[in-house]
Symmetry: C2
Subunit: 266 residues, 2 copies
């Protein structure tokens, strides 16, 4: 792997560039993005320089698509006629079914490996990039494909995990999409209360509303491409909240065991 192209150089794309450099990658790293994002990513050394998608597809042996989901799908369509032997396309999209299907439709067989590094921050842009962002975080791949990118995923400290796209989307509905909606709903309902709610806020409320700061630009696509699984998780959560009162003690114990085991897992 000698030349990597990062398409969409925001927080995730910028962090991938920084992480590759930190792990000892000495090949070229180019960015395909808006002029402003390229300038931002160049100034923090996340990429060497910017290129057009056509030029990146011609010169790179890995393209990492780290755009919002529908941006990734649009890029896959454009890449259709540009993919040549020796180029692998991978991505960082937060849902996998629609992306893997789009890749199957637009790209030659064997040229795509779906991916999802499960890491993030509530801030955006390459300037907030962090070469350690993926350290000890899961990095889902949708296939057990033999390619050097997997060496680099391990080298930057991520924990590779192979999951079928449907299973990925179902699991993420629970582990990520539901927590996001629980936080959004909490912050939204609190914003409608009168009186000194903010003045009495403790650190627990800060934790519980932090995800509420996430950008809807990203979440529109995530929720729109995982509707069935998200609806099932949301319904189960609402039912749990409704019946919580029947046995608070049981629910606290069950929740405590789960939260504790998650914390120990780190």
């Amino acid at each position: 792997m000698n030349a990597v192209g990062i398409v969409g150089v925001g927080l995730i794309g910028g962090s991938f560039g920084l992480a590759l450099r930190k792990a000892g990658f000495t090949g070229s790293i180019v960015g395909v993005s808006s002029e402003r994002s390229i300038a931002e990513a160049e100034s923090c050394d996340a990429i060497d320089h910017g290129l057009s998608l056509e030029a990146a597809a011609a010169s790179c042996d890995l393209l990492f698509l780290s755009q919002p989901i529908y941006g990734i799908i649009a890029t896959l369509e454009k890449l259709g006629p540009l993919v040549r032997p020796g180029l692998l396309v991978t991505d960082a999209g937060s849902t996998k079914r629609v992306i893997v299907d789009a890749a199957r439709r637009f790209l030659p067989p064997g040229s795509f490996l779906g991916g999802h590094p499960i890491a993030g921050k509530e801030v955006r842009g390459a300037a907030a990039g962090d070469g350690d962002l993926f350290r000890n975080r899961p990095w889902v791949l949708t296939e057990d494909l033999d390619h050097p990118v997997r060496h680099w995923i391990a080298a930057i400290g991520a924990r590779e995990l192979i999951l079928d796209p449907d299973e990925h989307d179902r699991l993420l509905a629970w582990s990520s999409h539901l927590p996001q909606l629980a936080s959004t709903a909490l912050a939204s309902v609190l914003s409608e209360q009168t009186g000194a709610v903010k003045a009495v806020a403790g650190s627990g409320l800060m934790d519980m509303t932090r995800l509420g700061m996430s950008s809807f630009d990203l979440w529109r696509d995530i929720l729109g491409t995982n509707e069935v699984a998200v609806a099932a998780a949301l319904d189960a959560y609402i039912a749990k909240l409704q019946y919580l009162r029947d046995d608070f003690g049981k629910e606290f114990r069950q929740a405590g065991e789960f939260a504790q085991s998650l914390k120990q897992r780190g």
Copy 2:
């Protein structure tokens, strides 16, 4: 204020002792607690030594009741015949209406000032105590009573806030009790899912389930003494989750503004 008695020397009581010392309090600090808690608090210098409630009431000019809510109420009843002029009783209970009513029933007028330092950790015990636990955190008082304890509340870095007991309980149902139940329900519903939910967990899920580790020993009393306000908050949250789907964009914007303003407040 020359002698302080801390009744129930756990995380909050222990931290209060450590905070007083850190702020320059040179009087005596005694603890009224189980033998084990006294030993733990002594070994981390949160208190000087242990005393019986009778001896503490006779020798202290401030008693700080930092027990679970029903423990505080039981202590108030015991203190009835022990309170003498010059002794102020205050507390750290997480709900205020039932405690203020009990104090009115059991103690002489003017000898009680309801309090609630809004600070905590998911771990318990004086060994986890922290002299900076109350720094920049709200400390609710139920009356504008003139007493040196308010000087010390300011000296340990807390932000005093005077609230009527009912208004306190209503606000805390939103800012604390609802977030706790939202976290408990989330961790509980996730614990019932099959598959690699934990393996794909990100930092957002860790934040959202951290409160789920809270002890039910404390929460049984909190939920049991604020039932009406908690039920109203829970119902509003469930309704918000139900109607969230109608306009995700609006809810994300509204939530984002609230969460951002909370973060800026610190």
